[in-house]
């Protein structure tokens, strides 16, 4: 097979020269897209066997650029990524400003809320900015950043995806365990909202504040900690992955664990392989030599959204592209089994949410039977009447 493959490759060059003469007639476009990634100090965590990749998000943007260029070469469109990752927010904003001064108007931002706001105030005028990092619900509800598009799902979308599935299984009594970090509190708030929306009950909420090394004492600490009135499921809110990994199989009652660990609602995961996703994974893994995670997916989706809009409009004008992206003509094939579009209130990318455990897909929300007058995808997260944001 090796030798055949080799001989196959040798003829590719000649094929490439053919391309130049066969492009669709169109004016040439060079599209520069900035990627800004904040490297967060996640602090020490007890569960440190599987560190998060440092280039989460960036690799997805790179694959998105490659995808855009493969299509673009038939249309004389070329895409370039201007990327910076840093643990210094100032440096990231400076980079954004200097790119803006050079005329860059497209930004994919993997930044926390405060930095997103700063980014918008400095380079927002006439730009299209994608939030590919922050799941903050307020950004979709009452702390709206004008015109911002969000490719990463909000915490509410993730919690609702889980809440629907639990409701469908009639696992209605939840024990909620929340970490100390403000992000954990925000996740817990989304879980509580989901419980209320889908008819479940938080029978007790416990706050995890132990600081023993759980790798050694999980078996002693957690069974006692999860003693409570009868519950169907333990929901854990531990975004950094401090203690949550130790909950499965260590609960007082023989119950499953879901939330930030155990079975998790995610934007993307290796185990999502239907709907052509296997092909996206193999492109990504060839490029990054690791699995594609949800930050990679969100950045990829931002870059691909621009590519799709440029392909269809043959324009690089941000206003023309924004109008197209928010029109009913726009659709992104995002390997989730249906077309993806942006909500006209929050600028949030509508998307199905996979529920996964580390080795398999469990389900995909919205669950059957959760209905909505416009699209069942809007049963996940904050709907138009609940949001003060309007991007269109």
């Amino acid at each position: 097979m090796k030798t055949i493959k080799h001989s196959l490759r040798s003829s590719v060059l000649s094929a490439m020269t053919l391309l130049a003469s066969s492009a669709l007639s169109a004016s040439e476009l060079d599209i520069r897209i900035a990627y800004l990634g904040y490297l967060e100090d996640r602090g020490p965590v007890l569960s440190n066997s599987f560190p998060e990749p440092e280039d989460s998000g960036l690799r997805g943007a790179e694959v998105g650029i490659k995808d855009n260029n493969t299509t673009g070469r038939f249309l004389k469109q070329r895409y370039h990524l201007e990327a910076l990752q840093s643990d210094n927010p100032e440096q990231l904003l400076e980079k954004a400003q200097s790119l803006y001064a050079e005329g860059v108007r497209f930004f994919v931002a993997n930044l926390p809320k405060a930095e997103l706001k700063a980014l918008h105030s400095q380079v927002g005028e006439g730009s299209i900015i994608f939030n590919a990092g922050s799941k903050d619900d307020a950004l979709r509800v009452n702390e709206c950043i004008p015109d911002m598009l969000h490719t990463i799902p909000s915490r509410a979308m993730l919690a609702d995806a889980l809440g629907q599935w639990l409701a469908a299984k009639r696992w209605n009594k939840w024990l909620l365990i929340t970490g100390q970090h403000p992000d954990d509190q925000a996740y817990a708030a989304a879980v509580k909202r989901a419980a209320e929306r889908f008819g479940s009950r938080i029978i007790e909420e416990k706050s995890w504040s132990f600081d023993t090394d759980l790798r050694r004492t999980a078996q002693q600490e957690l069974p006692v900690f999860t003693r409570s009135r009868d519950y169907d499921v333990v929901i854990v809110a531990d975004e950094r992955g401090d203690f949550g990994e130790y909950l499965p199989y260590n609960t007082w009652l023989p119950r499953p664990v879901a939330g930030t660990q155990g079975m998790t609602p995610v934007a993307w995961h290796k185990v999502v392989e239907a709907w052509g996703a296997a092909q996206l994974h193999s492109r990504f893994e060839d490029h990054a030599e690791r699995w594609m995670n949800e930050q990679d997916y969100a950045s990829w989706a931002g870059v691909r959204t621009l590519g799709e809009a440029v392909t269809q409009t043959r324009s690089d004008d941000p206003e023309t592209l924004r109008e197209f992206i928010l029109s009913d003509k726009f659709q992104l094939a995002g390997f989730k089994g249906r077309r993806l579009e942006y909500r006209h209130w929050s600028g949030q990318l509508r998307q199905p949410i996979p529920l996964v455990h580390p080795r398999a897909l469990v389900s995909l929300s919205p669950q059957e039977g959760f209905l909505h007058p416009v699209t069942d995808l809007d049963t996940l997260g904050f709907d138009a009447p609940e949001s003060q944001c309007r991007v269109k």
Binding site: K5, L8, A15, T70, T71, G276, Q331, A333, R339
Partner: protein, 323 residues
């Protein structure tokens, strides 16, 4: 490997004796079982299930129905079987991850979509030679060759284009944009029109081959089925030019279309996640592959109804039928 090649030989003589009484044979590729199911198209019984390479998807027959070609996607090769005895004949080079393919009417040139490499490979099936590799868009999928032999058309699922290849020069001569995730192309039997399905776009577009311009676009609506679940994939056109059949994926229906007026006449309920459709050569039956239910449905074209469901392997993908 040894088992796979020996077994058909042993059974060949027995099968040869009985094959003459078969009305015809339909072949179904089972993507997650690495097998082909052969079905008698008169009794609608499974005749045999035989092992092939890994992840079989695209499947076709040559013009005299004597040879069965199978894309073994994860084995990175095309396999050739005797369509009567099911005996393994040979492997063909295919490039990486062959998904769909189309055979030129000259029975020599095989156009293969290499999904992971953004390439269409052209193989001479007699000499086993790779004649050309042509760069196309991302995730090349659908492949069709016009019955007059002039055109090969490939669809790229993520680039969302049809790539038009001149079969004489083997050069890419045109690219046309189409709705999201184009999956399948089918030429009309007079080679004048090309039907192309867009899975995520939810449409089938008909192109004029000479001008390569859109002639018509078909939309679908099924009562009680969310529009997002209507995902057209496989297309079949009857020889007499009357009907088109389009598999609608997770909508679990096959659309029946008047091929002249483009009017959707009916939606027939089949199994779950229907991707492939295949006509028997006499235009009497359409067979649909229902991936998630692991079965195929048989549609009687005269009655326009599903007459039979037959269990096959896991995730049936492609289907083709010999007389």
């Amino acid at each position: 490997m040894f088992k796979k090649r020996l077994l058909p030989t042993l059974l060949a003589s027995a099968l040869l004796a009985s094959s003459s009484v078969f009305a015809g044979t339909a072949f179904v590729s089972n993507e997650r079982d690495n097998t082909i199911t052969a079905i008698d198209t008169k009794s609608w019984e499974v005749i045999k299930t035989f092992d092939v390479g890994m992840r079989p998807r695209g499947i076709l027959l040559n013009s005299d129905y004597s040879k069965l070609y199978v894309c073994a996607s994860d084995s990175d090769r095309v396999e050739v079987y005797d369509a009567k005895t099911f005996e393994f004949i040979k492997d063909l080079p295919s490039g990486d991850d062959p998904e769909q393919f189309a055979l030129h009417p000259n029975d020599r040139l095989l156009f293969i979509a290499n999904e992971d490499d953004d390439i269409v490979s052209v193989i001479d099936v007699e000499t086993n030679q790779v004649l050309r590799q042509i760069e196309v868009g991302i995730e090349p999928e659908g492949m069709g060759v016009s019955p007059d032999g002039k055109w090969a058309v490939n669809t790229s699922e993520t680039t969302n284009m049809l790539h038009w290849i001149d079969t004489e020069t083997l050069e890419l001569v045109d690219n046309t944009l189409i709705d999201q995730r184009p999956r399948h192309v089918e030429f009309t039997h007079d080679s004048k029109l090309l039907w192309a399905s867009a899975e995520i776009g939810g449409t089938v577009t008909i192109f004029d081959v000479e001008t390569r311009q859109e002639v018509h676009k078909i939309n679908f609506a099924i009562k009680g089925v969310h529009p997002d679940r209507i995902q057209p994939v496989g297309i079949q056109l009857t020889q007499d030019g009357r009907y088109a059949f389009v598999a609608l994926g997770p909508a679990n229906h096959v659309a029946v279309i008047d091929a002249k007026t483009y009017e959707v006449l009916d939606y027939l309920l089949v199994g779950r996640r229907v991707w492939g459709v295949g006509l028997t050569p006499d235009d009497k039956y359409v067979i649909s592959t229902n991936g998630v239910s692991g079965d195929v449905s048989v549609i009687d074209v005269d009655k326009m109804q599903v007459i039979k469901t037959i269990q096959v392997g896991r995730y049936p993908w492609g289907v083709v039928a010999a007389p």
